[in-house]
């Protein structure tokens, strides 16, 4: 037996509703977030990630209340990201029952937030979320769904973030996000080789086979996807069945709690 590879549905949340962004524009409503999260849990999701896609400004209270509501009903780990811009806000989200917070643009603007959150709440609660896009022969960190280039090298940033205390890297390929072309294996393995913490690959998954390929060809600890699950192209259970059939270690379906 060994550590299972994780399958993580991602829910883009706005005002408690799930939306799916295709390259972060053109969003569509796909229903109540907690209802959907509960379904994923039943189907065998190993963790959940909630990204509040417009929390950057006025919606912080909503994020904390939302995290609390999730923790009331679900007993699997979950991460909250999107708009986490202070260690205090991270603390509030963790205190109500979230397991991790993901920081992205706030960390690029001021990397000290990584150290601060990790120092107060531990590296295991601190996820560095990176949006990366291919630029010539390297990957560049971009913000705001790709609208804002930073000039920062994604591998260097991953290393720096981990050195500052991030306990996990959530790596989103902007080139693949919403394209259904499969995970970006090159980017994923490059980052996974650059750091010694677990890497969650994100962006581009369109089938169970994409997850099999991800775990066969890279050392990512987890694969994250949104639309494949939202629109029923495959269930979480389908993906885990395919992984198990391919000999990849997964958490088996659990016996229900009576």
């Amino acid at each position: 037996m060994t550590l299972a590879r994780r399958v993580i549905p991602c829910l883009d949340v706005r005002d408690g509703k799930v939306v799916k962004s295709v390259r972060f524009v053109d969003t569509k409503d796909v229903g109540d977030a907690i209802e959907l999260a509960t379904r994923y849990d039943r189907e065998g999701a190993d963790e959940l990630v909630f990204l509040d896609i417009n929390a950057s400004h006025e919606k912080r209270r909503t994020m904390v209340e939302f995290a609390s509501a999730v923790a009331d009903q679900l007993f699997i780990p979950f991460t909250v990201g999107g708009g986490v811009n202070s260690a205090d806000l991270a603390g509030e989200i963790l205190r109500v029952g979230a397991d991790k917070v993901a920081v992205n643009s706030a960390a690029v603007r001021d990397p000290r937030i990584i150290t601060e959150i990790a120092g107060r709440y531990g590296s295991q609660a601190t996820v560095l979320s990176i949006d990366a896009r291919r630029e010539g022969d390297r990957w560049e960190v971009v913000l705001d769904g790709g609208r804002v280039p930073t000039g920062i090298d994604a591998l260097a940033w991953a290393r720096d973030g981990v050195a500052r205390g991030a306990g996990e890297v959530l790596l989103n390929s902007i080139d693949r996000d919403g394209t259904k072309q499969g995970f970006d294996l090159g980017l994923t393995e490059a980052v996974a080789s650059a750091v010694d913490v677990p890497v969650i690959a994100s962006g581009g998954a369109s089938s169970a086979a994409d997850f099999v390929e991800l775990f066969r060809k890279t050392s990512a600890g987890a694969g994250l996807a949104a639309s494949i699950f939202h629109y029923g192209d495959a269930t979480v259970g389908d993906v885990k069945d395919a992984l198990a059939a391919a000999g990849i270690p997964v958490r088996p379906p659990e016996r229900a709690f009576a």
Partner: protein
């Protein structure tokens, strides 16, 4: 009353909410005196052992926990809370644990990545009544870089494979420490917590 030791660190709300899900009312206790009426105690903790240990001692919980242990109050330690049941950790030398279980907490070496984050299968090496519903191979959610090494084989009740065989569960009669997070381990975790809550009820009847 089940008391969750609140020394300002960790996933207290998650533990309270998971206990609520198995029908138990638990209260966060910030004052060591509040442990006197506890029928059972959960000692949580996440993150860094040294930080947890310092805060735990600063709040003055060690004597209250020792008193509870002497009274036979069931105690469940989770993650760093489990590690605190041991003598101490190399993560922060000099920060003592409670010494309820003999052994040291050490950093995992020869591992693919640290922390270990995710679901891993349990090996059962000993029996304990709060583990009555746990089966060999059940998956639980782990998040840790350090792990206790029990000095006595009899205290080692469960193992996990991560760059070697590691201690996942340790304990004795009214004491159990789990390295994983039962409050985040889905149905498997709720079953374990439910068995613990059952022990609480019996302890209350005894006293």
């Amino acid at each position: 009353m089940i008391a969750i030791v609140d020394y300002g660190v960790g996933n207290l709300a998650s533990v309270r909410k998971a206990l609520a899900a198995v029908g138990a009312h638990a209260e966060l206790v910030r004052d060591p005196a509040g442990l006197r009426n506890a029928t059972a105690i959960v000692l949580p903790g996440v993150g860094n052992f040294g930080h947890c240990s310092r805060e735990f001692h600063r709040f003055g919980f060690a004597p209250a926990l020792r008193g509870a242990r002497e009274r036979g109050v069931p105690i469940l330690g989770i993650c760093v809370g489990m590690q605190l049941l041991f003598d101490g950790s190399e993560e922060d030398r000099g920060e003592p644990g409670l010494g309820f279980l003999a052994g040291k907490v050490v950093e995992m070496t020869n591992v693919p990545r640290l922390p270990q984050i995710g679901w891993n299968a349990l090996g059962l090496t000993g029996a304990h009544r709060w583990l009555r519903d746990v089966r060999e191979g059940d998956h639980f959610y782990f998040v840790h870089s350090y792990v206790p090494e029990p000095a006595h084989a009899r205290d080692l009740l469960g193992t996990v494979e991560y760059g070697g065989t590691r201690c996942a569960i340790a304990g004795s009669d009214d004491l159990l420490g789990v390295q994983f997070h039962p409050e985040k381990s889905g149905a498997n975790g709720l079953r374990l917590l439910s068995a613990f809550v059952g022990a609480t009820t019996r302890a209350a009847v005894r006293s």
